[in-house]
Each structure stands twice: as C-alpha cells, then as structure tokens.
Subunit: 422 residues, 2 copies
Amino acid sequence: MTQYDAVIVGAGIIGLATAYHIKQQNPQEKILIIDKMSTAGQGNTARSAGMFRNFFYSPTNLELVRTSTGFYESIPNLKIEWIRYLWLFHEEGYKRIEPVLKEMEDKGLEFKLFDDYDLTRMLKINTKVTEDEEARMMGLADVSKAILVMKAGSIDVDYLVGFYESQFKEQGGEIRYKTKAERIIVEPVEPSGMPGEPYLWQKAKATGVKTDKGSIKAKKTIIAAGAWSPSILDEVGIETHIRPIKRQIFIVKADTPELKELLHVKGLNQEGCMPFTILTNGLYFKAVPGEEAFWLSYGDEFPRAFKLEDDPRAEEYFYRYGINFVVPKYFPQFKKAKLFSSFAGLYAKNTLDGQPVVFEENGIIVVGGTSGSGIMKADAVGRIAAALYAGQEYATLFGGEKFKVSDLGLEERKVEPEKLII
Amino acid sequence: MTQYDAVIVGAGIIGLATAYHIKQQNPQEKILIIDKMSTAGQGNTARSAGMFRNFFYSPTNLELVRTSTGFYESIPNLKIEWIRYLWLFHEEGYKRIEPVLKEMEDKGLEFKLFDDYDLTRMLKINTKVTEDEEARMMGLADVSKAILVMKAGSIDVDYLVGFYESQFKEQGGEIRYKTKAERIIVEPVEPSGMPGEPYLWQKAKATGVKTDKGSIKAKKTIIAAGAWSPSILDEVGIETHIRPIKRQIFIVKADTPELKELLHVKGLNQEGCMPFTILTNGLYFKAVPGEEAFWLSYGDEFPRAFKLEDDPRAEEYFYRYGINFVVPKYFPQFKKAKLFSSFAGLYAKNTLDGQPVVFEENGIIVVGGTSGSGIMKADAVGRIAAALYAGQEYATLFGGEKFKVSDLGLEERKVEPEKLII
C-alpha cells in the first residue's frame, strides 16, 4: 500500500485549493485527493450561485475574499463577470446598516447609493409595495434605498475547478474519483504491535482513510468535504462546528419582454445586465444573460433543518408559495415568470460565527465551514490550510498579505464578526 | 386539544428541575412534561455515577454545583454520602495543577494533600508503577501526589428524581410518559389562516410538539432531552452545541479480602469507605459499599464518536483491554477483580466550553449540555431556565445568590473556563 504524505477528502473547491497549495509548497510530497463523485467539483461546489463580493464588514472575510478574487483574476481565461450587487433596503433596514456602510466607505470599499426614485426610474421596480393590500398583509416593507456594490460579480466555477484540478495534477498530485471515504483510520502514535490498538493508555492519531475502494494511509488526513465533513468527523468525536443546510435555486427564463428588458438593463455594470440583486430578508436573484434567465433563491433559516442529503432537491412549493409571491411585488416583471428548472445544494454552515474553520486535531486537518462563501474564499482558505499543514504560523495570501493561521482555528480563533449578512 | 403554557420534553433530572421551578414560580400555569420512557429519570440520568463535587475552578461551575447541592441537602431523606474525591496526580500533572489548587485554596475550597508515602501507607497503592516493565511500556507514570476533596460525594439520584417529580405533580404539574416527541410544531407568529403556513415572509415560532400520541400545543416549548436534544433541534435548524457521547461504567464486586479492605478503608471520610478515586487520564472508580462493589469508568475522547443511541451498551473489551489493564498497576487489589456487570449512557457534551446552555430561540427554550455534571448542577440550571421562561434577567439560586441568565445563553455567553477537568 502506498503511503501518502497527505490524503485530502473532497475534490470540491476547498479541497482542490488546499491540495493545490500544499502541492505547490511541497512538490516532492505525495498528495492524494479522493472524492466520491466521478469528477471534480460535482458536490455542492457545482450547486453554488458562483457569486463573489469584495464587500464585507469583517476584515477577516474581506481579506479572504479580496486575496482569493485577486488570485482568480490572475488565472488566464477564467471568466469573471463584474455584474455587481444591487442591495435593496427598507427604511428601517437602511437605518441599521447606515453606520456600517459609512465605516466601509471610509475604508475605501466602493458603492453607489440609490433612492426609491432612482430605482423606479432605472428598473421599473415597485418600491411602494405597501400600497398593495396583499403585500401589506404579508408584512412586506417599501424599498427606500439600495446600494450598488462595485467590486462584485460572478465567477465561472467550472473553469476555476478545472484550473485547480489540472494544476494540481500537472504538479504530480493524484486524484481518485468514485472513491468514498468511509471512516478515518486511527492508530496509536507509538504502536506496540498488539491487536486491538489503540488502547486507552496510548495517544492515538489519524493515519489515513478507509474508503469503499480500500484503505489509504497518509501522514496527514485532511477533511475538506464541505457539508459531509461533520458526518466523517462525528465518527471520531471531532467537533467541526459545521452543519449542513439546504439552499435552493429556482430558474426562470427571461421569455417575456419585461423580463428581457430587466435582464439586459443598461447602465449598472459593464456587462449591460441586471446586477445580482438582494431584496430584503435574504431573498436574491441573479441575472444569467448567457442563459437568458434569472436564478432566484431564498436562504431560509428557522425552521430549515440541519440535514445531510446526498442528492438534495429543490422544493417547488418553496418557489410557488414563497419566492414567487414576494419577488413580483417589488419587480412586477416577474409576474408572469414561469419556473423553468431548479436545483438544490447543501451549504456548510459554521454555527460559531459563519466564517471558515481551519484546524488540526489528532493528525486530522479540517478545512471548511465557509457558510455559502466557499468559492469566493477558496484560494485564501486553501493557502491557510497549506500553511497549517506545513506548521507555519502565518500563511501568505495572494499579493503577499500575511494571515495568522490560528485565527481560523478553534483554540485561538480570532475572527471579526460580520455585520453585512445577505 | 388542551393548550399548555409550557411543554417540557424530557423527564430527566434537567427537565424535572426545570419543570419544578417553573411550576413553583407560576402555580396557575398549565405545565406538562413528556418523556418517551415509562417513568422519570430513566434515560441518561439513570446511567450516571451520581457524584458531585463542590470543587471547580470555574466560578460558573462552582456556583451551579454549590447552590444545587445546597438545595439537595435541604431535601428531607435524600441520601447524600460525603465520600469525598481522591484525585491522584503524577509529578508533571501535579506541577501543572498546583497553581490552580493554590488559587482554589485561597478561595476557601478545602482539600488535603497526600504524597506517595501517605498513599502507600493508607491504601496499599503502588505509586511507583514505572518499576514494572509493562507499565513503563504502557507509558504509565508514577503517582506523586493526591488531593482529597472534602466537599464531594454521591447523591441518591433515584430519590432526587422522585422528589422533583412528586413535588411537580403535587403542585398540579402534568407528566405523560411513553410519549415520544417526534418534532417541534412551527407556526407563524401572526397566522393568516391560509394552508401551507408559515410562508417565507412570516416570522415563525414553535407552538408545541408533535408526539407519537398526538400533538401538544404550548406557548413555550422547552427541550431538556439531554443527548437527544440536538436530534430534535436539528430538525428546525437550531444549533445546541450539544453532542452525544458514550460513557461506560463497569462494576466489579469486592469479593476478595483485598478489595473488601480497600472498599471499607477507614480514615478518609465519615462513611468509612474508599473515596471516589480519579487516577490519571480521566480514569476513575467509585466505591459503592451498599453493593459491596466498585464502579469503574474511563471517559475517553478521540476517537470516541458523537453518536446517538437509544440503548447504548458498555463494550467489554473497553474494560478487559483498557481499564482492567491500568487500574491494577496502581491498585493491586484489582488484580483478581472480575467483571460483574456494566452499563452505558450518553452524556450531552457542550462542545463550546463544557458548561450548560440555557437559551431561547423562536419560542423554544433549550436547557442542557451539562457535559456529565447534570445531576450536580440540575437545581441551579432548572432555576436559570425558569428565570429565562419568566423573562427575568437574573435567576435566584438556592441560598439567594443571583445568576445572570444570559451568562448561560449563546448570544452573551459568559462562563469562566474550567481548569480542573476529570
């Protein structure tokens, strides 16, 4: 049996970025990725909306995103569309967020402010929803302001996945697909050779992974399996603070003149399309001009379950009696929209603070908990995991910035709380 | 259908203490406990070693235990045996703990210090285990010191459970046994009466529990189900930070002259028996003179799984090739000990800091995470939960001490870390 230096469970964006940076730093080492899917990025990475924004309140989040997207910009042929974010606020919500935005402006984070008049004029949006009795009964609030976040857009996730995968392989990294991690192998640090080890007086550590295709031995076992990570780590009693939660995306085609016009609205970005739009209450839609479509979603919390599913499905009622009831109140263009298709994924929610975790326990490195922003943070998180792997105190992020590895750990965790949550 | 003021899921010690104190404070209210078992305290409460110690470093832990055991002492006929704790240390371990002990002494927490000579003389213990080649190979260390914790002992758990249960019922509280909570009922805060509620624009909250015997509606739903709490709350996406972990107790009869002598050793407590004894590394045994037996246990961590089981069983190998290998090295009296019986339970480990949680979200009060010290803290935790229920900022613990309710919450949690972990 080959002994690897590191085995990485998960060929999603986080596992790939981690593997790539480990291999970059340690070209002589034998690094293996395993994934239960048949190709890279086919789990929840493939089910992402693929958006990013260099616009966070938390310096931690901002640094992770800014350096990651900086790196992505350096990748030849990776399509990044700077379609921007349009973020709507009702009066109360804007009042709450105003001091936060002021601070962000002072830090040089660019946005443009619009009022309800601008929005009506530019987008034919209905800002005064409370004039509609149904909307009033639903408790919807009038839109009073919006901000257009400038440094934000969408990334070609498939291409990014392919980049990390091919670069990793080119450097000599190995990947085994259709290989499912069944459990972490645990052995004594100082084996006695007796059967039944580890005994209670022995210190134990992970020495690889048992898979459905046999055992893989490695000096370090790295779990970067996203929503699946807690189920693997529960088996050895390691708390990840990651919980899987379903997220759904509903696709409607822009097949009416009103929707087409909205999709291709000019003046808000260089792409000449509608920005990624966040309505109040975690409801958003993304313009996808290449598909002549909009993707709509709502990130619900209570009472949405923490639940692991291998093939989560979108729930049609969630669109029909939810999203489809609310969005047209603000954007009448969606009144005649017809559901074209849908999909769902699980995001790996960090229930401590919504920010990623990178820590090591008993020979196991855990990387994840990116809480729906895995793609936009993957490069930085991968570098931090690679630094932890190498025993470095600081990771060097893209552009040369230093990041203290233990800041994303559990013992000495130090992350600034995020005040701008979609 | 009866509408209750509160439904409490779990008739273990925490659920009972919570229900008792809520009913005490609100005698007019309709309070119901449900439990899947056929009587009170039959889950993990029944699987406890039933020990307590007024000896913690964390002021939080100390206050919870001191006031709880103070209340227990006031209960007529409740048998409390002050058998004390004997805590053994190897040289390194003692050096680490010495400053902590000094601080505790300064606070007036009583203990007696013994050296290896005292221990050998009093207990015929083998302190110099490293003279034995096998013990040396096992990495066991010589015992250099021990402390005898004075205010510590065992409680008659069944009696305590019966006390809370009967008092709760006498005050008019209701209990339904053999009633399993299947899921929390969630409804809109402001119902519209339309089918399919709650919709995404509605704020939702818990309004009771669906059980295998039908639905129970209540203004407040209180989850005090110990190791089962996370599985109920996962279904509605509430993070408890509680994980179930197996703990095992192995019973050996004191049926040799050596074990009998050790069991009934004089001079260490008023009961004239061996104190509850903690060897290095989380290994302990309890003298049970009433059964002419010792209970032995080892609280293992990595790689012990977080796993929910309705009927966890003790693993015989864990005794034979674990506990039974180590204990006789120090206590030769156990050399010929024969395993008589065993049992296992699940403790509700709080993975944030090992201390209890009491918080409310969406009409649900969560009480638990007592991490193996539920019985010794139950009364205080019950009072704190009752204060949260009543919307009070401070709970009044036994003896009149005040405790800030939000200190055990998640948002403004403030607990002192524990430095003395068994």
